[in-house]
């Protein structure tokens, strides 16, 4: 494979929990992201899945350099992004762009589509000289399947799916190399979701983009991703190619997650076993000692409370898994479509 375009090393992001108004004191830390490492290769899609509160959106914010990491680093083509400032940071921002979840709140309602898509060029005038911007915006609209004639419309005149296309066009404006997609299709209806997913795939092929695709929907992630990282309470518990994760999962959490996904086929109703997890995800302020999943895990032993399982390739498996008792188990019966 080619080299990593983006590398995340031991990334940690803690948010302080404070008490008091005048004399604030820190009483704890929300350990939103707690030691995450992975590499993103050029032209690939890395899916990041996990339930709410697992730190996937915080990860997106740190990748985008919207938050400084507490420790660890995000390295883009050899540069540690958190150490950049001024012009160097601005140049970096051109290369990594974000598509947000909610197309209703992420577009300024007072700006026309033309202004929204033209704004990136004002910050980065070197990409398109002033005279050519209007034409560039039309080109972008056409690229994402919107009518270039609608350049003077406002966001409220578009449907949810169309707005998400505007969000994608905006992310594409500066011809970035990496796009971080944070739940880009979860607010959309199924028929519209498929259109946007196909668009993302098409654009990736056309521009050789690398995606970090963050979502909670495991079917969507499988469809788009080359590799998948599964997160639980701020840590990656398993990472591997799409086949490795979906066909040969070894971490109990991945297995439980996969088994809970409803399959749109009523004939499968009785011959699938759902692994029931009991209880809720523990608070990220005081995560369990050792393995964070042990409080809900059916395999938990004493060692799980004492030792943090490392994310490494285990015996009998072909990809890294952070479980002391990693074991293959078939959950999803895959068929070639």
């Amino acid at each position: 494979m080619t080299e990593n375009i983006l590398e995340v090393r031991d990334l940690v992001k803690h948010y302080p929990v404070t008490q008091g108004v005048v004399f604030k004191k820190t009483v704890g830390q929300v350990k939103a992201v707690d030691g995450v490492s992975f590499g993103l290769r050029a032209g690939e899609t890395l899916g990041v899945v996990g339930e709410s509160g697992c730190g996937k959106s915080t990860l997106a914010r740190v990748l985008m350099n919207l938050e400084k990491p507490t420790s660890g680093s995000v390295v883009y083509k050899g540069q540690d992004t958190s150490k950049l400032s001024g012009g160097a940071l601005r140049r970096l921002r051109r290369q990594i762009q974000l598509v947000m979840q909610d197309p209703y709140t992420s577009l300024n309602p007072r700006m026309t589509v033309g202004d929204l898509l033209g704004e990136p060029f004002e910050i980065h005038p070197e990409v398109a000289p002033k005279g050519s911007r209007r034409a560039k915006v039309r080109e972008l609209l056409d690229l994402v399947g919107l009518n270039p004639e609608h350049i003077n419309r406002y966001p409220h005149q578009f449907s949810g799916g169309q707005r998400q296309r505007i969000g994608i066009a905006r992310a594409l404006a500066l011809r970035p190399e990496v796009i971080v997609c944070d739940e880009p299709v979860s607010a959309l209806d199924v028929s519209i979701q498929a259109q946007v997913m196909n668009l993302l795939e098409k654009l990736q092929g056309e521009f050789g983009l690398s995606y970090v695709f963050i979502a909670h929907d495991l079917s969507v992630v499988r469809h788009l991703s080359d590799r998948v990282a599964v997160m639980y309470l701020g840590k990656v518990v398993e990472i591997g190619t799409e086949d490795e994760i979906y066909e040969r999962p070894t971490h109990p959490y991945t297995q439980a997650l996969l088994s809970a996904v409803p399959v749109p086929d009523p004939t499968q109703r009785h011959n699938k076993t759902i692994i029931r997890l009991t209880g809720d995800v523990p608070s990220p302020i005081s995560p369990p000692s050792g393995c964070r999943f042990r409080t809900r895990c059916w395999k938990a032993q004493d060692v799980c409370a004492e030792q943090v399982p490392l994310l490494e390739i285990r015996q009998g498996s072909d990809h890294p898994s952070a479980c002391h008792f990693a074991e293959r188990r078939e959950i999803v019966a895959t068929s070639e479509a």
């Binding site: 339930e51 028929s191 196909n198 079917s219 749109p264 086929d265 004939t267 029931r276 809720d280 068929s335």
Partner: protein, 347 residues
Amino acid sequence: MSDILVSEQSAPGSGGSGRPSGRLLEVDDLRVEFRTRDGVAKVINGVTYHVDAGETLAVLGESGSGKSVTAQTIMGILDTPPGFVTGGQVRFHGKDMLGMSSEERRRIRGEGIAMIFQDALSALNPVFTVGFQIAEQFRIRRGMGRAEAKKRAIDMLDQVKIPNAKGRFNNYPHQFSGGMRQRAMIAMSLALDPEVLIADEPTTALDVTVQAQIMDLLAELQRERQMGMILITHDLGVVADVADRIAVMYAGRIVEEADVYDLYAKPAHPYTIGLIDSIPRMDEKGQQLRTIKGLPPNLMNIPPGCPFNPRCPMAQPVCREKVPPLLQVGSGRASACHFAEELVNRD
């Protein structure tokens, strides 16, 4: 359909109590419009469905298809204005509820028909404890004393598997996690032992593992109590797991109704086909997803003929002229497509 005949025999005004079987809940040619400043949106355009005891009917549709508005009309919680019922009936045990006084309707709510909502945090009152909100029903509707109502409420929390129900009684909704709030709301809606439960996107806001827990719980409670359940959802996966029958809605109409196995095996409406094809499946490896082109219609300006015709790959001139009625195709299934027969008989 033949179902209607059964219900017409039940004389109006008799209250329906004690009548054996018949249809439990029927929606018959319901029409609702929203009168807004910008114009009149025809949100429900003749919806007919029914649910019997012990059965789960899934109402499937995308945003704006009218699935939630139908439920709100059944419950009598439609915002009026802007929403107005312009035609049709909602019969509970054969008696039309739309003609009842608000006092009569209130008696049905909770005991006859109860509803759970997508967003439990906004459905629960934030300034009262969860326990109080459940116990309140026993005190007001059953005339129980404080202590007994509390005992029953704790029992309900137990039934929905909230750990440490006794200790949780005095908690406020914000102290519960998302899944527990949903459980609390289920406890509240089932407190008076309703005959029909309407679940409006009950798991949409929840994570998959919690979703599986909640759907299990609902299925179990339904079996125990032999409730009729109307499950409103957009999720074809959840539907495949729990539904007996499915009604697919589009632009305020039912476009297809069928047994769950038939619907997935051989959908008889182009919209249903499009929906099933456009979901990414976890058990199938990638390729381009098939999509439904275009957008759902503007309800203030529904296209003439079949409302799906501008997006339909099979559309013919007749589709732009005549509205296809929901007709029986094969046993126990109906489709509102001019070419339904062809679709059912295809290989």
